[in-house]
């Protein structure tokens, strides 16, 4: 094993320029991966805050008795997704409307009866929030006999849902693209290194070397190239983070963005794993 490690180290040093260029290329690819994760992470963060503001207005039928309203309220409160239910009576709704229309009270002139319905203002549990769950809750509530109508920001919810889904898809696409790009870069480098040592490898085979003996130095070399690429990725990502933090003082939009710095630590491991994958693909089956 020590001999194979020695062979790998010698090869890494002998082919230092191609190895260094490959590692730097991997580093830049990992920087793009960091930026992609940074973007998706922040969009997720923003959309995670939406449930705190989100409410469903459930308008009740006019002719419900107090008992029926209490029963309905406890029924809605019993739903898994519901955090709290606030009852707004007809009268309260009308007085709120009046206070909201303070300067334009003439709009209500001539209206003698209160036209508004009593309602429940339903807040959703943040940790359980999802568009699908909210829509299924609304479907259930709509079938309840005490419900007149339901109002919620459907358009906004759909937009957020679509945007979040699209950004996740873009994130996954870019991640896969970068992963394949890194594997391809390592694949190409190892292929070049393998062909440069083709005669030497032929001699190894004729002397009785197994496929494992031939593969091992290349796997070590590919892993080291990937790992170094990860270290370059950390340096480049940290530079990116530094620029973001500096800019954050001046630009409010960037100021509230968050960066998952702990992700940096994973980059060398990601590089190492991709290095090994690329090498395995490059070596393929060793034929005797």
């Amino acid at each position: 094993m020590m001999y194979l490690l020695g062979l790998a180290i010698k090869s890494i040093l002998r082919e230092k320029w191609i190895n260094l260029l490959t590692s730097i290329t991997i580093g830049f690819s990992l920087l793009i991966l960091s930026m992609t994760i940074f973007t998706v992470y922040n969009i997720e963060g923003v959309s995670d805050k939406l449930p705190e503001k989100f409410t469903i207005m459930v308008y009740l039928k006019d002719d419900l008795s107090s008992d029926e309203i209490i029963k309905a309220q406890s029924q809605v409160e019993g739903k898994e997704l519901v955090k709290e239910v606030l009852y707004i009576s007809k009268e309260k709704a009308f007085s709120e409307l009046k206070s909201n229309l303070k300067g334009s009270a003439f709009v209500l002139e001539g209206i003698e009866d209160n036209p508004l319905s009593p309602s429940f203002e339903v807040k959703i549990k943040k940790e359980l929030f999802s568009v699908e769950k909210v829509e299924s809750l609304i479907d259930i509530l709509q079938d309840e006999p005490y419900v007149e109508d339901i109002d919620y920001g459907r358009g906004f919810l759909d937009f957020v849902h679509s945007f979040r889904t699209a950004m996740r898809a873009v994130g996954i696409f870019f991640t896969l693209l970068i992963v394949f790009a890194i594997i391809f870069v390592i694949y190409s480098t190892v292929k070049i290194l393998f062909y440069r040592r083709k005669d030497e490898i032929e001699t190894y085979k004729l002397l009785g070397a197994t496929a494992g003996f031939i593969r091992a130095p290349f796997l070590i070399e590919g892993g080291v190239i990937g790992f170094l690429g990860g270290l370059f990725g950390i340096a480049e990502s940290y530079a990116f983070y530094y620029v973001i933090v500096r800019l954050g003082h001046n630009i409010p939009l960037i100021g509230f963005m968050d960066f998952p710095v702990q992700f940096f630590a994973v980059l060398p491991v990601v590089g190492l794993m991709l290095g090994l994958f690329g090498t395995i693909f490059a070596l393929g089956r060793i034929r005797f």
Partner: protein, 220 residues
């Protein structure tokens, strides 16, 4: 030790070897001779599975090369030492490392490697060149390094392809002496050569090939 049964190998409509039946016994030293292109090198390549026969089978040290699984080929090769016509020495490694490579591939410990390489170098009289690189050696010295590498793990079979091809008669004699010494220890040896001086008056078996066919056997 080595049994060839109806062996043929054809390259692009040309039979490199055809219908070879041959038995080489354990501990024997056999010469295979013939003009260039007679099939000597192909016959040796078939033994160490650098080539596979189109028909027939070769059984060597219990391995049938026709039915041998690819992953078992390295283990067969570890029983065979080969002195290649073109040496196949690694120019970026010293003489010591070239010879040690055969043992490192087999997972032998470094302490043991040191002893065995030293003994092999002593046998070929090249101890003083152990730290030299192959390209700084003469043809005869390179040939002796190749022999040392082939015998360092004491193989049961030794194959030598034109081992004196580019050497003067003095060097050729000294290499033949090395082969005799190895053979005396029980190693079965097949030497492919077109140099008749090498086997003349040796009293050893000589197999004659012509255009891929075995045309006869004589005693040198």
């Amino acid at each position: 030790m080595i049994t060839f049964s109806n062996i043929s190998k054809i390259y692009e409509n040309h039979a490199a070897v055809k219908d070879i039946n041959l038995q080489i016994n354990k501990g024997e030293l056999v010469f295979v001779t013939g003009a260039s292109g007679a099939g000597k090198t192909t016959l040796l390549k078939l033994v160490y599975v650098a080539e596979k026969p189109d028909t027939g089978s070769i059984v060597i040290a219990g391995y049938n090369t026709s039915t041998l699984k690819e992953k078992s080929i390295p283990f067969l090769r570890r029983n065979i030492g080969v002195v290649f016509q073109d040496f196949k020495l690694l120019s970026n490694k010293t003489v010591y490392d070239n010879i040690a490579l055969a043992l490192r591939i087999r997972g032998v410990q470094e302490g043991e490697i040191k002893n065995r390489v030293s003994n092999a170098l002593k046998l070929v009289n090249l101890r003083h060149r152990s730290e030299s690189y192959p390209l700084t050696l003469s043809g005869g010295e390179q040939q002796r390094v190749t022999i040392a590498r082939a015998i360092v793990d004491e193989p049961t079979v030794l194959l030598a392809d034109e081992p004196t091809g580019n050497l003067d008669s003095g060097n050729a004699r000294s290499i033949m002496d090395i082969f005799r010494e190895i053979n005396a220890k029980g190693t079965t040896i097949m030497i492919a050569t077109h140099n008749h001086d090498l086997f003349r008056n040796t009293g050893l078996r000589v197999v004659q090939l012509e255009e891929g066919r075995l045309i006869g056997e004589t005693v040198g």
